[in-house]
């Protein structure tokens, strides 16, 4: 009897721990959104709708935030951890703009596995953040 109860509690705990794992990303006072680690997407909640509504006003700030090195608990696909707010700013930008990577960065990212982002893109954004900010500003200004 006690054994069955313990199994039940363990299973219940397992179920709870398997529920969606979300991370709030605060880029500025006005630009914040929630990333869902389980579903690998941005939650389309009130914060998201606010960004969507004011996206063209926020775009420049979002691009500047790519240089933000604050660490988050975000996981992108299976291989990317230690994700910074800066990478998440890029992820946010890429949600709203169809960014042609080669035309912006002069680097071709064309190898996709079971991830929305091509191989090498996320490490490149994290590593070359200043260059990425500069190239994105140039692309959107022209």
């Amino acid at each position: 009897m006690i054994r069955i109860l313990i199994i039940g509690i363990v299973l219940l705990f397992g179920l709870i721990s398997c529920s969606d794992d979300t991370v709030l990303i605060e880029l500025t006072d006005h630009i914040q959104f929630t990333w869902n680690n389980t579903q690998q997407k941005i939650e389309e909640d009130a914060d998201f709708k606010n960004i969507q509504k004011h996206f063209l006003i926020y775009r420049k700030t979002i691009i500047n935030q790519i240089a933000n090195t604050e660490k988050t608990e975000v996981r992108i696909c299976k291989s990317h951890t230690n994700i910074t707010n800066g990478v998440m700013a890029f992820v946010l930008l890429d949600y709203f703009e169809d960014i042609p990577y080669y035309l912006v960065f002069q680097l071709q990212f064309d190898a996709y596995g079971d991830c929305r982002y091509p191989h090498g893109l996320i490490p490149y954004i994290a590593r070359e953040k200043e260059e990425v900010v500069e190239k994105l500003h140039f692309y959107f200004q022209n």
Binding site: M1, I4, L5, I7, G8, L11, L12, G14, L15, C18, D98, I99, P100, Y101, Y102, L103, L107, Q108, F109, D110, A111, Y112, G113, D114, R116, P118
Partner: protein, 220 residues
Amino acid sequence: MKKVLVSIFVLAIIGGAILIFIPKTQELIGIDTGPPLIGIQPYGSIADQEVDSVKNSIEAMYGFEVVVLDKKEMPEMAYTEIRYPRYRADSLLKWLTYHHPDTIDIAVGLTNQDISITKYKGNTREIKDPEWMYKDFGIFGLGTVGGTSCVVSSNRLHKNVSDKTFYRRLMRITCHEVGHVLGLRHCPEANCLMNDANESIKTIDNSTGDLCADCWADVR
């Protein structure tokens, strides 16, 4: 009585967990969830006959179900004038990866516009020589190995050939790119459909039009 109630409680939890997590569990332990559903995404003014031929070729070769999605304009984000006015195949792959319907497992973009990529030296980030040519190099198709999308262009297949040859080329290139998405890399076997075209349409023309035994064995 208590024992019965606890047993029901535990069974309910197990049942619920199985129902909720079956798709996730299958994915985690790699259980085959059935053949993929392939969606052809026709772009712009591509002829219906070309779309039908691509659909028939994938069905005949791989035996998968294929549906044709509503036509879309060529994505502006892929347009380039680096060497000529045309579309970047890598950008089209990205567009397909982001925009194909959730109901589709593999998206095949089909266009009659010219498409291009940058060709690098091996696995480096150094553009092949001559750089002026390879920084934006016209291609027949591009597929991502083990990914979810590929793109095929009929633009370069017409030149000075009969309709029969044109459609044969179109079918072979499509099945080659779908082969990449199904996990196949280029094959050293000269007559295999997965042999690298090496920048020449003749490689496609000389192929048997079928996968070699090793490639068939590797289709995911």
